[in-house]
Amino acid sequence: MHLIEETDSSVAGPGPAAPPAVQRRSRFQRMVRSVRRNKVPYIFLLPTVIGMLLLQAAPILQGLYLGFLRSRKDRLLDYLSAPWAGFENYAQILFNPDSPIRSGLWDAVRNTALYTVAVTIGTLAVGTAAALMVNREFRFRAAARTLMLFPWIVPTYVVGLLWGFLWQREAGLVNIVLVDWLHLFAEKPTWLIGPNTLWAIIIPTIWRQWPFSMLMLLAGLQGISKDVYEAAEIDGANAWQAFRRITWPLLKPVWAILILHGLIFNVYSFNIVIMMFGNGAGFPGKHGDLLMTALFRNSFQMWDFGTGAAMSSLLMLAMMTLVFIWYRIFRDQLTGK
């Protein structure tokens, strides 16, 4: 079997028109023949496809379906035979201002939006700066890069645990440094209660994520040949012009990837918040609650699966819209036009 031959045969177009009675059969035959011809890739993908159908597609479809059911806490296991509710769950979330679910949900939506934007921007800013810093030649450069990667390897639940401790009012290192050592505030600020909460989750997330951005951007920067810069210098370009004309265009596709990564990773952020605010049963407060923590509470503490599934469906829809917008914006960079 030759690979090229196989490729050719598999993309062959539909055969010549056949009489209707035979067409049915021949289409089936063609399918069988196609499977036979592409035996190898199908066999290779079969376990993955079965696994994805069982453990991804089936639950996702059930989740979408659950959003239209009025779930009953007392009969959880018969969840699929719960009474049909139509768009009741969606209406509760979107249009009923008195719904108890909704008040907390909008806080979570607002926090998640702010959190995602702030973290993505912060991560890119620090990551780019650090990548430019490390892309120079200086002593112990390799050690510097390795040290920068440290927080990225710390598991996110440890990040939540660690920063929950660092933000403590009396015992936390942040207040010890800011107030006891640097005297920046008259009294120790409270970080984990009130409006500061959002910062208390944004900063650790940036702290954990920027090394990844740095790594990606550094790889992008190192792909640029030194000769290009030297040529630009000879042509009289200053450092800013060199950055603007050479570095920036090459970094744009990496930025695009990082923005997508930041979008998905941060909208679905869970571990950091849940670990930072106690045992998970604790409520981060209306300034620190994110969509994932709100959803988790709704589903696994209040066992309200109907609205939980409806919220998840809406969230998935929103995410797909955002990814679509992202694709429209960065299409040119990604396809290299």
Partner: protein
Amino acid sequence: MRPKHRNLAGRLLTAATWILILLHVAPIAWMVYCGLKDNQEILAGKVLPGRRQNDVIFLKEMSDGFLAGTADGGITLFSKSGLRKERHLELGTFATSFLLDTGNAGSPAAEPVLWALSSNRGLQRVDAKSLSLQRTYGIEAIAGAYGSAWKTLWVNEVAGSSLSQSGGRLFLSFQFKDYPGVTEFDKATGSFSPLPGYSAKASGAVRLLTHLPGTAGTDSLAMLTGQGIFLRSLGTGNAGRDLRAGRIPSVPERLCALDARRLLLSMDSRACIYDLGSDSVVRWLDRPAGSGIITSFARSAGRIWLGDSRGVTALLDITGEAAAKASTADGLIAAGAAATVNDSIAATGAMAAKQDAAASADRIFLPEFPAPDQGNRDVTSLRVTSILPLAEGGALLGGPNGTLSLLNMEGKSVASALAPSPSLYIHWRNYVDLWRNIDFGLYLKNSFIVCLGVMVVAMVLASMGGYALARYEFPGKNLFGYSVLATQMVPGIMLLLPLYLMFINFSRATGLIVKGTYGGLILTYAAYFVPFSIWILRGFFATLPKELEEAALVDGCGPIQAFFRIIIPSALPGIIATGVYVFLSAWDELMFAWVLTDERTYTIPVGIRLFVGNFQNRYDLMMAAATVSTIPVMVLFFVMQKHIVSGLTAGAVKE
């Protein structure tokens, strides 16, 4: 280009880089450091490590010197004149208490033995002459007395321990919420057994054990707890009396037996003598105004010694056995008050001239403890933590941080000394507690099993899938590619809920348990990580030259054989790098593990989450747990760093 970097801007930029790195790594360093710290220091906001809290809590006069014991398990023998250090033994223990065993009154032991009880080492036997450790009975041996009713204690949570003895029996207890009561130790057989008739659950954790003397069979043991004083007869029957608050003026902090009937109690800044026969306070002990909280007391023939944050007041014990029997309580209180209020302070001066007068009056000793050295600076407050009255009228006083002061009978300091102390307060207790009490070893094992399982399953499936996508064109290829991308956009919580119910329903229908097993979690994770891994590995396979498998096919291999024999080995670096990335991601997963595991299969994040809920303020333990869960992935990452970095960046930059 090169000289340019030697200029000022370049240097500033380099400096800025290192400052950034320093700030960036500081939280991790702090995490590791706090995992080795004491929680009290963390809560107090202390950054630098201090000395251990090694108050001198034990003083005894030996034939060849003074024996001093500190709370951190330091035992030092000082010479009688000048307090020179003669011998020293460091037990390295916590919440230690000591007891000097010179044998029974009838038959003095040939060799005096010092018993030390601590929360980390258990009961230890030390030769009091040579100061050498003879035998250790660990916490496990003590726990053996309780079978399954009680297993172990938290080294860090034990506030104190106490030891007492009666004849050949030793009694011990820990001030710890879960300790069941009082444990008896038979010196002859070396076995532990619970003391019947006392339960800490009903009466409180024991702060102090005191032996009340009596004729054989009538002696008893007094337990001081947060609820009162509990007396248990050591004879047959274990009859007892409970003196809860109400019977006694308030719950005392300290207790010692003056004789068979009278107890000396101290509460806050007051002390009294309590008579067990008449069941009432027979005398309040008054000290000069301004004397603070009583921090220690002792008794000698005819005197009661009360130590506080200023010094020691030695009061005449005017309620002897005969006096107590003769009079009513009210009369005695009046008499006691009259005798003590007057000229108790004036007695300090001109003592030498009026020795006889001094002998019949209350006296005050003001010790001169040596100045705390650098490491001790944070604990400067003077307080007398132990008192040893001497036969000739003076006293040896112990203070904080191993300080000692010897005073003569006139109350003048004649010598002072500092007991040696271990230098740094960094310890592994938190790790001991993690393994002993939270079952962290099990969580670690579970995490390793699950993550390795996911890694293997995902790599087998993903290299097959990635290869199929990279090398073949087939109908449905685009559909598959898009669904792989789409799965990354689905919130995990959406499939978690149906998955959870599917697992339970599946087990009901087939009898095969899935939820709470390694297999269930591994499959769930694999379904999540395989699509992503296929995407990365597709890139690796695409970079391999096609000639590789063409040559294999020419040699007569089938395509599947060619894949396993030729392709896998050449793509191995990429597969390993992706596998490590999957391992790291699975290690980091909390939400699915939370719902899909049970107590036998809890992974580290679930275990940590549970114990954070139970130990809200134990930052030392939390940081130790955080360190333990970070180290494996750190090591793995730095071993594989080159591969992972090149693998991830290659995929990203190419796209």
